[in-house]
Amino acid sequence: MRELKYIEALNEALREEMERDESVFVVGEEAGPLGGGFGAFKGLLERFGKKRVLTTPIAESGFTGLGVGAALTGLRPVVEIMYLDFITTAMDQVVNQAAKLKFMSGNAVEVPLVIRAPYGIGTREAAQHSQSLEAWFMHVPGLKVAMPATVYDAKGLLKTAIRDNDPVVFIENRMLYFKADEVPEGEWIVPFGQAAVKREGKDVTVVALSGMVPKALEAAEALGSETSVEVIDPRTLVPLDIEAIVASVQKTGRLLIAHEAPVRGGVGGEILRQVQERCFDCLDAAPVILGGLNTPIPFSPPLEDACVPQAADIIAKIKEIIQ
């Protein structure tokens, strides 16, 4: 097997989809020579030319709307927002336009648009370059939301997102961008709405989002034979594979959900609600949501690290739940 970095997997997905389908093009700040903010568009300008690799001014609302409008005509734009935080300046185009136009037209139009953006902490960039905003998009009917945690999923899910006829907010983890993993050669697809059981276990279910997946696996590994931990990565929040999560909780009777976003109003609460509606009786212990603190992200490294759960926090919580 070859090794590939997460960012290279995204690049490969884009390259393959652009080769396969002429209606696919990419849009964003620094899209051309620099290859996007972190290199997902690297080499695409040389291969596909300026028309299909559109470098824009710093105008998120304008170029996100460009993507929506082009999608209305059947093209399949992939818009990059350099940091997920910056999508705030384009929220009308995402929430009121992309998410609503198909519905409001009585299904006369479709919006096959992908909006990619990196999220999360770890690079010490302070409160306007670090947020985990996935809950906002999960909350808005009309959007799909993907959060790949692995190199394999980054490529497979992005290809699915590009082929989907609905707008997809594709949230990438910046700290995983340059992590490499072994993946096969050639093409693969990861369908939406299928969670991945990353590790089987029988004592407790840990549902982890994106950057929390490697931390949950690290915690599970550290607990060893002491506690058998099942780790589930939902991979997409909309659609959400609640059945896979419920099946796991029915087996283990215990649930911990971990994400970087603050717990208040976060995705964890929504997943827990759905689990309780379906199998309240199967919970043997109070479920726990482990998330970020209710604070803007600070710059200083030790402060930043204190804001989101680490593997040690997951271990401590699991021990509490098991008791």
Partner: protein, 322 residues
């Protein structure tokens, strides 16, 4: 403008006017019967703008409308019955009752929606214009917005990028003097919104928005330029909104001001022009009015008889969507 187009212009303006008059009556009747049907943003007084601009378009061009969009929909030629039914939330409406007055669509005419967000359509228009360039078609996009929309940040972003890439789009600012109840002199400190065009590197021009001949002439030039690869234009049409912002809000404007603009009625002005220049006789104009009145009556009846969408069907669809 040839005589055939001149007559079509009168007919279209009459169609918009009568559509709005009937629409208003039905809206108010429903309201009195406790059937509140959202907002009704009347286009009365602005008929020359939608008419003049849409007459300059081809069938496969794209149009983005606004919250005040009935006139655009009628001028573009969307089936009156479907528009009237949509205003009443009926299943046969052009958006099957999902969009209502502010969200009229007809993809067969490139009519990609009204918009409930002021200035929300400007970036979308950038997208269809980019798509035409991308696919190598000769389609032109027209984006209507108001003097209110011209104050949104999307105006700046869309005009800058459209000029930068010489995209085939005409930005039509319908300056009807009011954003809700705030006069444009309270929101813009230069004489014309169109004066901003030069700052983006595109041509800008001002049309008498109550003179359909002037609007058509300037729109035709802008559309032609866009179609031939000459890039975007900012066309400002100065007009006046005769009715209040919507039927929900009282009017706080000076009666004298409204009366003054009523004397500039675009339909009366155009009819006078046609008669004085022997393009049409009084009788011909009356015949045309009668024909349009019959169409409106039919549309009204259709909207009445059309059913509401079935909530059970809708719920089935929603339940499938995870």
């Amino acid at each position: 403008m040839n005589n055939e187009i001149a007559l079509r212009a009168l007919e279209t303006m009459c169609r918009i006017r009568m559509f709005e008059e009937t629409g208003k009556v039905r809206y108010n009747q429903n309201r009195l019967a406790d059937n509140f049907l959202g907002a009704f943003h009347s286009y009365i007084g602005q008929e020359a703008v939608a008419t003049g601009v849409c007459l300059a378009l081809q069938k496969n061009d794209y149009v983005f409308s606004t919250h005040r969009g009935h006139g655009h929909a009628v001028a573009r030629g969307i089936d009156l019955k479907k528009v009237m039914a949509e205003l009443r939330g009926k299943v046969d409406g052009c958006s099957h009752g999902r969009g209502g007055s502010m969200h009229l669509f007809d993809t067969s005419l490139g009519f990609l929606g009204g918009n409930g967000i002021v200035g929300g359509g400007l970036p979308l228009a950038l997208g269809t214009a980019y798509s035409a360039y991308y696919r190598g078609t000769d389609q032109v996009t027209v984006c209507f917005f108001g003097d209110g929309g011209a104050s949104q940040g999307t105006f700046h972003e869309a005009l800058n990028m459209a000029a930068l890439w010489k995209l085939p789009v005409v930005f039509v600012c319908e300056n009807n003097c009011y954003a809700v109840m705030t006069h444009v002199r309270e929101t813009v400190c230069i004489p014309n919104v169109a004066d901003r065009a030069s700052a983006y590197g595109m041509p800008g021009c001002v049309a008498d928005g109550n003179d359909v001949g002037d609007v058509y002439g300037r729109a035709e030039e802008a559309v032609g330029r866009a179609r031939q690869g000459g890039g975007p234009t900012l066309l400002e049409c100065k007009t006046y909104r005769i009715d209040s912002h919507c039927m929900m809000l009282p009017d706080i404007r000076a009666e004298k001001e409204i009366a003054g603009w009523k004397e500039q009625d675009p339909i009366q002005r155009w009819e006078k022009h046609l008669v004085e220049n022997n393009i049409a006789g009084k009788e011909e104009c009356e015949k045309l009015r009668a024909k349009v009145a019959a169409e409106i009556e039919e549309a009204d009846r259709y909207a009445d008889e059309s059913q509401y969408p079935d909530p059970a069907e809708f719920l089935k669809e929603v339940k499938c969507a995870n």
